[in-house]
């Protein structure tokens, strides 16, 4: 009876409050936006059906994770309202049992949260069925999808969250406890899942909100599964639910035991163990003084006093925040946690990087608009701090005394802003400490303290302080603590996710700006100026907010809007008006300047406008795609680079020839966007008949047609000068050090360019373009006429730069000289190159070596000498191996050229491979796997001089098999030949690592594959596997023939079918089916060594018996799995004692056996005592469950 009353009272009390319904509206709105803003475009792109069960589940977990703070308010309020309102002296003394009291309150909170969370399915239904979503992206309505989501995710999560938050609040007797619980759950969902993503099972178990498992299912399930498979309680997901159910019940039980229906003061006194002296009022001890003795001191007032007041209030508020558990202790713990992730994150593909300060700083910082887990927590804490400080005096009941004190509003407000700012500064100081400690612990690099201070306190802190001001502003203006928390949270989500909602312009998004970047090579480059302008602009806004805060600061008792407005009018003094006017003027001034830069100097285009432009290009000019155009055969350039002025002038001549069987009378010429191209002249009379400025394109008609075999010269002038900055920052083409531009972006291009078309199906549909696959089909014969850079050109350039820099371009450096204080470089290609090249200018250090008549040059960032020898050795080995196996290297140089950036990427343009700065920080010596990524990547890139630059595949499905797969396969050969089988095995293991990352099995066969995994990992492994069946020599012979036939660059361009044909040629009949399984079907094998035993024979040999089970299946691109009967030659291996460190011992036996599907027994005899044995031990087949291929040998009698 009492239980029911308590429940009913709590429930009806909270449900009558407006804020409860605000929470409902928040969850509803947020979930709706997640569906519409986040997932609808993915569905339109064809990734999944919008109402696929896993999509609904994903939306639900996202909604729930963001609901946590709302739930905290409900649970915390139910648990502690009596204590907060001091009603507990009435309720606790009433004859109520603890069970009824706690139980009623808890269940009421749970019921309310369940009610609020009904907003999630409601929002999903509204978004899907009532907001005009097109029927094409929807599957049939399935009630089960909603029910499983609600009962397996929403309801349990609501229970876990409410139980944990309620318990923490009840035990701490403060509503704050439940917020702490909310934050913990949030961290567990977001951060731990991310930190533990390598150990997936743990990531799933530890996440109470099941955020990690659901999100990973969305990415890992096949398209078919995404659209149809229900999320069921099974496996580790079930374990997760059970684990957290028991944790929740345990928390509730603990709360029941520990909670005491007693007054908090008495409770606290006893725990502190201090007994107060009874305050017995004996009259003579109450010897109050008399008025005569009153100090006759009066306050002095003025600015100095106000500053002193500001200092004091700020300091006291800071101490209050800092000393609380959610203050510095929590921040210190977060910093430690963040520090602990540095080593794990400072890696590229598992290879540690030298912990250079700029890279560590990149890990430690994040702008407000691109939230990363730790920074999300900081933003939430900032909101919380602001709320605590704004409400502190009112909550303790000291506000009337304090507000009657002669302290101006600006001091009251500013102190509440400065105190959390100080806390945030300490957090930033923690970050610096953590960064320096991590650098020292990892070794190999010196902390640059100055840079830390500059970046952390000069840049990162600004975002934090701007947001802190916003949080104070919201709290003061809203003047309802929990509603303000919610409003601030919404504001933050809006800032963080605005780009998903189509708000791109940074003038509209509080505190946002283009990102700064700092790397050792380029420094801040051009990134700081735009950052600064935007921040100054937002500081002006902050000043305006500050004025508003002052005007609306709550000091009086009344809080109605009209009375606050009235007061604001009274407070709007002359000086306030002046500050207000200054803020508005600054906003207009800086905003105007920014707008001038982003929208006048630069062409500001939102994502949709860019799409329209691309669509227009296709609609207007696709008709020209088969109009014959002259072929580019030679380029002659005079390039004047002015890095300090951020300016380039290029005068160029194109040598063109009509290689078509028909005369050409008109030329379609596109020029670079964002720069000037003029003085376009042909060496024959021609006139421009069309000038499309929007598309930077013109059509010229030749007075006399260009007959087949005739040639034509085209001259032009290109001028680029970096103009201010755009919405995404300043151009990085020309910077003080580390300039770099590519011909395709800047120089004129002839003919229709298919690569400018929109590829995504959804975007094509939205733009009214005819549907086509994103990549042309392998069997589309017409598409074999196109490749990315079809022309082979003779290249010649004279390029100049500042005295202290070097220009790098393709070809031999014929001569270099200085003139007028500038350095000139004359480059000429020795043999035609593919029409793709960069010009670099930087203060490079240079490392030179030779291989036969080829000069190897590495232009590296000065000081980064760690890997140079390694790179050179790999280049030499590669040149040697590839020229023997596939064909001659046609040039007399091979260069690696660095450019500034945080990445490690390489790109093999002809002769010059570009390498991002991070590549030179790789530290393979400290790779725990002993794997040398640098050597392998260099071998891979050099291999592209054959696969990609000489042999150019048609732009159709499976092109990556020819470029990337062959490049890796060739690199495997280099490692085996020049570095030994151990190195090669480590590369193979590295490539195989990717098999363990969960992903869907649904895919096209290798011959048609376009995705990264298939091109870069499965492809080379399949080729290697094949080479172990038919012989490396045979495979290389096929590649050699492919290269000889197609490296001339004539149309039609080769496809993976040509590769397949050559492989068929060298494959014996008995293995043709294997070739088919590997390349023409998406085949998966599954091998398992169930039991391995060995007995010693009388002759002293060992007889090893393996009980193995095998199966094979084919998976299509939508995920349909078909078991196929297996009858394949599979390796069986027996290995000796493990080496030290647990590595597998040397093979004693390795032979192929013909195996069928199902379980079977294999018996082999070996001469020595075996330790391990297994099936397909070298993983030559595609089997993602690799670890069960082996078994430890049990020695029998």
């Amino acid at each position: 009876m009492k239980f029911q009353r308590i429940f009913a009272l709590e429930f009806s009390y909270q449900i009558r409050r407006a804020v409860t319904w605000l929470y409902f509206a928040f969850v509803l709105g947020f979930t709706f936006l997640v569906v519409i803003g986040n997932y609808m475009s993915d569905a339109q792109e064809g990734y999944f059906l919008l109402n696929g069960p896993i999509v609904i589940a994903t939306v639900a977990v996202l909604g729930i994770v963001h609901w946590l703070l709302v739930g905290a308010s409900v649970a915390g309020d139910a648990a502690t309202r009596d204590m907060q309102t001091r009603m507990h002296s009435l309720t606790f003394t009433a004859p109520t049992s603890k069970a009824a009291y706690l139980g009623g309150r808890f269940l009421a909170a749970f019921a309310l949260n369940v009610l609020i969370l009904l907003a999630i399915p409601a929002a999903i239904l509204i978004a899907i069925y009532l907001s005009g979503v097109e029927a094409e992206i929807l599957g049939p309505f399935r009630l089960a999808a909603y029910l499983t989501t609600y009962f397996y995710i929403v309801l349990p999560n609501a229970f876990f969250a409410t139980a944990i938050q309620f318990s923490l609040a009840a035990l701490s007797r403060r509503a704050m406890g439940s917020y702490l619980g909310g934050a913990l759950l949030f961290v567990a969902a977001y951060v731990f899942g991310m930190v533990l993503q390598d150990t997936e099972e743990w990531g799933i178990l530890v996440d109470p909100m099941s955020f990690t498992p659901v999100m990973s299912n969305l990415t890992n399930w096949s398209p078919l599964e995404r659209d149809t498979r229900l999320l069921l309680l099974e496996g580790s997901f079930l374990a997760n639910r059970l684990l957290w159910l028991s944790v929740s019940l345990g928390m509730l039980a603990f709360t029941y035991v520990r909670f005491r229906l007693a007054l908090p003061e008495t409770g606290r006194k006893q725990t502190s163990g201090k007994l107060l002296k009874p305050d017995v009022a004996t009259p003579d001890r109450l010897n109050w003084g008399t008025g005569k003795a009153l100090p006759n001191v009066r306050g002095t007032y003025g600015f100095a006093t106000h500053l002193r007041q500001l200092r004091l209030i700020t300091w006291k508020s800071f101490l209050q925040l800092a000393k609380s558990v959610t203050g510095l202790p929590l921040l210190a713990a977060l910093a430690l946690l963040m520090g602990a992730t540095i080593q794990g994150n400072l890696k590229s593909k598992g290879v540690p990087l030298l912990p250079r300060t700029d890279f560590v700083l990149d890990l430690l910082t994040a702008p407000l608009t691109q939230p990363e887990p730790f920074w999300i927590i900081i933003a939430l804490l900032t909101i919380y701090y602001a709320g605590e400080l704004v409400w502190r005096e009112r909550e303790t009941g000291l506000s009337e005394i304090a507000n009657a004190a002669p302290v101006p509003e600006w001091v009251l407000f500013l102190s509440r802003f400065l105190a959390p700012s100080l806390v945030l500064m300490v957090w930033h100081a923690f970050l610096i400490t953590v960064g320096i400690v991590a650098q020292a612990a990892l070794g190999g690099s010196y902390p640059e303290i100055g840079l830390y201070l500059q970046v952390i306190f000069g840049l990162q802190l600004v975002d934090c302080l701007l947001f802190a001001l916003l949080a104070v502003f919201v709290h003061v203006l809203v003047n309802q603590k929990f509603v303000a928390h919610l409003v601030a949270l919404i504001a933050y989500s809006f800032i963080a996710y605005a780009s998903n909602l189509g708000i791109d312009h940074k003038l509209f998004l509080f505190a946002s700006s283009p990102r700064w970047s700092y790397t050792d090579m380029a420094g801040f480059g051009s990134s700081l100026i735009p950052w600064l302008w935007f921040k100054v602009y937002w500081v002006a806004w902050a000043l305006l907010l500050a004025v508003l805060v002052r005007l609306f600061w709550v000091r009086e008792r009344e809080s109605s809007f009209t009375s606050r407005l009235h007061l604001a009018r009274l407070r709007f003094t002359r000086s306030t008006a002046m500050v207000f006017a200054a803020a508005v003027a600054s906003i207009l001034l800086f905003g105007g300047y920014i707008f001038y830069n982003t929208n006048v100097l630069h062409d500001y285009k939102s994502a949709s406008e860019t799409r329209v432009q691309s669509a227009t290009y296709e609609q207007r000019y696709r008709q020209c795609r088969n109009v014959p155009q002259p072929l580019l055969t030679g380029v002659n350039l005079k390039v004047e680079m002015y890095p300090k002025l951020r300016e380039v002038e290029i005068r160029g001549t194109y040598f063109l020839i009509n290689n078509n069987p028909v005369p050409i009378d008109s030329i379609l010429l596109a020029t670079g966007a964002g720069l000037e191209t003029d003085e376009i002249t042909f060496d024959q009379p021609a006139r421009q008949v069309l000038a499309d400025e929007e598309q930077s394109l013109g059509i010229y008609v030749l007075a006399k047609p260009l007959y087949p075999g005739d040639s034509l010269k085209l001259s032009f002038r290109v001028h680029f000068k970096a103009q201010g900055f755009s919405n995404s920052g300043a151009d990085t083409y020309l910077v003080g050090n580390g300039s770099n531009f590519r011909n395709y972006e800047w120089l004129p291009v002839l003919g229709y360019q298919p690569y400018r078309e929109i590829d995504e199906a959804g975007a094509r549909k939205a733009s009214g373009l005819t549907p086509r696959p994103a990549t042309a089909s392998l069997y589309n014969v017409e598409a074999r006429q196109y490749t990315a850079f079809p022309e082979q050109i003779n290249f010649e350039a004279v390029a100049a730069t500042d005295m202290d820099q070097v220009v790098v371009a393709p070809g031999s450096l014929r001569r270099t000289w200085t003139k007028n204080g500038r350095r000139y470089f004359h480059y000429v290609s020795d043999a035609p190159i593919q029409n793709e090249y960069n010009f670099f200018s930087a203060k490079y250090a240079m490392h030179v070596a030779r291989w036969k008549d080829v000069t190897i040059e590495i232009f590296y960032p000065p000081g980064r000498t760690e890997n140079l020898e390694r790179m050179v050795r790999s280049v030499k080995a590669s040149l040697d191996y590839y020229s023997k196996q596939f064909g001659r290297y046609p040039y007399r140089q091979l260069r690696f050229v660095s450019y500034p950036g945080y990445g490690m990427g390489n790109h093999a343009a002809p002769i010059n491979t570009t390498a991002e700065e991070g590549f030179f920080l790789l530290d393979p010596k400290n790779d725990p796997r002993g794997f040398d990524l640098v050597t392998a990547v260099v071998a891979h890139e050099v291999s592209h001089q054959w696969w990609g630059n000489q042999l150019k595949p048609a732009n159709v499905e499976g092109a990556g098999l020819i470029t990337e797969s062959l490049a890796w396969y060739s690199a495997i050969g280099v490692l085996e030949e020049h570095y030994g089988p151990g190195s090669m095995q480590r590369l193979l293991s590295f490539l195989q690592e990717e098999n363990e990352n969960p992903r869907t099995r649904a895919a096209l066969p290798l011959l048609q594959a376009n995705d990264w995994y298939q091109n870069y990992r499965k492809g080379p492994l399949a080729l290697y596997g094949l080479s172990q069946y038919i012989g490396r020599k045979q495979v290389n012979e096929a590649l050699h023939r492919l290269f000889q036939k197609h490296s001339t660059g004539t149309k039609p361009f080769p496809t993976s079918l040509d590769l397949y044909r050559e492989l068929e040629e060298v494959t014996p009949d008995s293995l043709q089916s294997l070739l088919h399984d590997l390349f023409k079907a998406n085949t998966f094998w599954d091998f398992e060594a169930e039991q391995v035993t060995a007995t010693q024979t009388k002759s002293g040999n060992w007889q090893v018996t393996l009980n193995v089970s095998t199966s094979k299946m084919v998976v299509d691109s939508s995920g349909v799995e078909t078991k196929v009967p297996m009858n394949d030659w599979i390796e069986v291996g027996v290995f000796g004692e493990d080496k030290e460190g647990g590595e597998r011992g040397a093979p004693i036996y390795l032979q192929k056996h013909r195996l069928r599907s199902g379980t079977q027994t294999v018996t082999v005899t070996v001469p020595r005592k075996p330790a391990r044995a297994g099936i397909d031990p070298r993983h030559l087949m595609i089997d993602w469950k690799m670890e069960d291929n082996f078994g430890k040998v049990k020695i029998g009698k």
Partner: protein, 309 residues
């Protein structure tokens, strides 16, 4: 003269809350330097008036002047010379008395560290908190906390001291001491003591007003108000059950239980007979007869008499 300069004059102040309650209805008062008692039952509008004078609330209409300072529009100037002890207040439980008093001393503009130490020490001694100055305020009893509030209110030697129901949490001895302290302070400041305890006013305040339902019922010098009732208050010890009958016949202003019987005071310009005996009036009788609506009659009569003279 100086007293006059720092008097508080309240003119036609009205205040209606958003929920329709009219807390102050056209209130005008002249409060000279010295102790001024504001008497009234709970909910009479005392606290609203106190908060309005203490710059924490805006009147809908009317002006308030402290000397030359316009209280409504020059809040900052008022605050610089204001001491305010609200009816209810809390403290930071984890701060010590000394620490928090020092904090408020800075807020009240006492910047010099040495002066501040001297001031806080004097105030802590005066409020008998010196021995407990290091103790956390969270462990203070109601009386100690009240004394601490007094110390805060007295910081900076305020010329306007507003104390709202200050004696509510004090034990009898503390109350006496506190009132003495206030009395001495009242010599050169305006001290407004808002209370519903009649003795507080009768013992200390030269001037007083009685407020009920947002209106001033009586504004007078305390002694004169008592004197004016001389010969008009009568008492009788009766059985409880005949109280209704007495109430019908006479103007009963108060009835108290006295050892099982009821002592009634009635107002009557003449001898009521019926066994009533005259009684020397005190401020409580002034209060009750004002609340009963009788006092207004004599003050008008008296005024009439004055004019007739």
């Amino acid at each position: 003269m100086e007293n006059h300069r720092f008097g508080l004059s309240i003119g036609n102040v009205s205040k209606t809350y958003a929920n329709g309650v009219q807390a102050l209805n056209n209130i005008s008062l002249d409060i000279p330097a010295g102790m001024y008692g504001l008497l009234g039952p709970n909910g009479a509008g005392k606290s609203t008036l106190m908060r309005t004078i203490a710059t924490l609330q805006e009147p809908d209409e009317g002006q308030i002047f402290l000397g030359d300072i316009d209280v409504v529009n020059q809040k900052e100037a008022v605050r610089q010379t204001l001491g305010y002890l609200p009816q209810e207040f809390g403290v930071y439980p984890k701060s010590s008395a000394e620490e928090l008093l020092d904090y408020f001393a800075v807020l009240k503009g006492i910047s010099n560290r040495a002066v501040r130490r001297e001031t806080t020490e004097a105030l802590l001694k005066q409020t008998n908190l010196w021995d407990k100055r290091k103790q956390k305020l969270g462990g203070f009893s109601g009386g100690m906390r009240q004394r601490f509030g007094v110390a805060v209110a007295l910081l900076g030697n305020p010329r306007l001291l507003i104390v709202d129901e200050p004696t509510a949490g004090l034990d009898p001895a503390e109350r006496v001491r506190f009132l003495n302290l206030l009395g001495e302070l009242g010599e050169n400041s305006v001290v407004i003591l808002s209370t519903h305890i009649v003795e507080d006013v009768s013992e200390l305040c030269t001037n007083m007003a009685i407020i009920n339902k947002g209106q001033i019922l009586l504004e007078a010098r305390t002694l004169e108000a008592v004197a004016a009732l001389k010969g008009r208050i009568w008492r009788k010890l009766i059985d409880k059950n005949i109280l209704p009958a007495i109430d019908e016949e006479h103007q009963v202003i108060s009835a108290k239980i006295l050892s099982g019987r009821t002592m009634v005071h009635v107002y009557s310009p003449e001898m009521p007979g019926d066994g009533f005996e005259p009684v020397e009036p005190d401020l409580e009788d002034v209060y009750f007869s004002t609340m009963a609506g009788c006092y207004g009659q004599i003050s008008q009569q008296q005024k009439g008499e004055v004019i007739a003279l």
